[in-house]
């Protein structure tokens, strides 16, 4: 069995599986049951100014037979008094001294407010702090959460205020509702952040009831934008993690969040630069016990790969994530249809005819059977046919050796401008 423990910016944790700050980490009862189930850490439901929540507040997007492909909420931070939360954090830490408890915090952008809350939560012995600059609804209207998180200077200043008094590591949780995540991440680091976590939820409207014409969810017939999470947001979260992981100016450990529900998702986030991960929606959907499968799966995977520690995964795929301009334009793949696995549904033919390069021919073979064949010289290797094909291994994408040396867009542009420069000089001279 591989070693699953991690050291996240100085915070020791028995495994990389943390619960994200959300309904599953609302009480000591829940967090203790989660630790018993196997979770290595929990980021407590965000503490801050007393708030009041609405009813209803959650909605889900079910897609193609899958329930909760995406999840949406208009919930705010904890609505339980700070004193009660602190007592329960203290109790939980006492019972589980080797598990990780992070306090998630959100207050108004005022220095003394941050100092006060940091001192109070650190006094009861948390392992670290997570600053919530991500919540996109409710708190944002009052200048907190994403309203702060969308202003890089405010993120930097507030992080610095926290660092003035904090004695434990400070994680800054980022909002995805911005144009370039690395700008805010860099400012968090300039403010002194020891680590970052991402993503919080994405602005969304889950749906509209076509019969009542109400938004989903609705609060007495009125709706508001909420935050989107769950499996649907994973690709967005993963790319934002990757952008931060490859940015030299960010350079701090990352806690990956967003749509993680299987051990494979965890491996992907860690390969793309996360030191640990956090989960919310999957636990809301399936309960704490999903962690058992995640731990088992990760253990088997690490054994199979011959890795002694989960930390050996961290960042291994980051060098493979670059810019479009540096990709090899001469690299070539083509589709090849395997007659023996094809069920002749014609989906690939239609997709290629209507949406790609019209290069799958309908032919008849020697036995008079209808077959499909790719005209490889016209195939641009877009992958579409293999994406829509419902049969296993009926279409392979094959790499061809076309003899051309690698050439990227950037290389091409540099060379063309060089040639044009030389030509104009020759013309002039």
């Amino acid at each position: 069995m591989a070693d699953l423990s991690i050291d996240f910016a100085g915070i020791k944790s028995p495994n990389p599986f943390w619960l994200a700050s959300a309904p599953p980490t609302n009480t000591g009862y829940q967090v203790q049951r989660a630790f018993e189930a196997g979770w290595g850490g929990a980021v407590w439901k965000t503490l801050g100014e007393p708030v009041i929540n609405t009813s209803a507040r959650f909605a889900a997007v079910h897609f193609g037979g899958q329930r909760v492909a995406g999840f949406n909420n208009i919930e705010l931070i904890t609505d339980r008094p700070l004193e009660v939360n602190l007592k329960e954090i203290y109790e939980t830490k006492r019972r589980f001294p080797h598990h990780t408890i992070i306090a998630s915090l959100m207050v108004e952008p005022k220095r003394e407010k941050w100092h006060e809350i940091v001192k109070r939560v650190e006094a009861i012995g948390v392992d670290g702090l997570e600053l919530n600059f991500g919540c996109p609804h409710g708190m944002a209207e009052r200048g907190m959460g994403a309203a702060s998180g969308q202003q890089p200077d405010l993120v930097q200043a507030q992080t610095a205020w926290v660092k003035e008094v904090a004695t434990t590591p400070v994680i800054v949780k980022l909002t995805p509702n911005i144009t370039d995540i690395t700008v805010v991440a860099r400012h968090a680091v300039k403010g002194g952040a020891d680590a970052i976590s991402l993503i919080n939820t994405i602005n969304s409207l889950a749906g509209v009831d076509i019969h009542s014409w109400n938004t989903i969810p609705n609060v007495g017939g009125q709706g508001a934008h909420g935050g989107y999470c769950g499996p649907a947001v994973k690709p967005i979260a993963l790319s934002m993690v990757a952008e931060c992981a490859r940015d030299r100016e960010v350079g701090v450990p990352i806690s990956g969040i967003g749509g993680i529900s299987t051990w494979q998702d965890v491996v992907e986030f860690m390969l793309m630069g996360s030191t640990g991960i956090q989960v919310c929606t999957a636990v809301m959907h399936h309960g704490f016990r999903i962690v058992e499968e995640m731990i088992d799966g990760l253990n088997h995977y690490l054994d199979e790969k011959g890795l002694a520690s989960v930390t050996e995964l961290i960042g291994k795929s980051v060098p493979k994530y670059s810019n479009w301009g540096d990709l090899d334009l001469n690299y070539q793949v083509v589709a090849r249809i395997n007659e023996e696995n094809c069920i002749n549904c014609n989906k690939c033919h239609i997709a290629c005819e209507d949406a790609s390069h019209q290069c799958i021919d309908m032919l008849t073979n020697a036995e008079g059977k209808a077959i499909l064949q790719v005209r490889e010289e016209d195939c641009v290797g877009c992958n579409l046919c293999s994406i829509v094909c419902p049969a296993d291994r009926a279409i392979d994408m094959i790499a061809l050796d076309n003899g051309a040396a690698p050439m990227s867009w950037n290389q091409r542009s540099r060379i063309i401008s060089g040639v044009n420069g030389a030509y104009s000089e020759a013309e002039a001279g």
Binding site: R375, E377, Q411, R412, I416, A422
Partner: protein
């Protein structure tokens, strides 16, 4: 018409000029395609302009240029 045939025709035009001793002297790209200018010093010829319409031919012409740049670099280092 097969996309490959269009590319193949353009590639042959490029390769023909190169075979005749022409070199690529300039490339201007606009919405119509890439206008590639070829010149030849011995015997003097050109400029000849080709308008390349296919993406693959545009890749081909710059692949030739990349190859030439690499070769020149290798010769300098020798």
């Amino acid at each position: 018409m097969s996309a490959f045939a269009e590319f193949d025709r353009e590639r042959q035009e490029i390769d023909n000029l190169i075979g005749l001793g022409y070199t690529i002297a300039g490339i201007y790209e606009d919405l119509d395609g890439a206008r590639v200018t070829f010149i030849r010093s011995e015997p003097a010829g050109g400029p000849v302009e080709l308008l390349l319409l296919t993406a693959d031919a545009r890749k081909h012409v710059t692949t030739l240029l990349v190859g030439r740049t690499r070769q020149t670099a290798a010769e300098i280092h020798r």
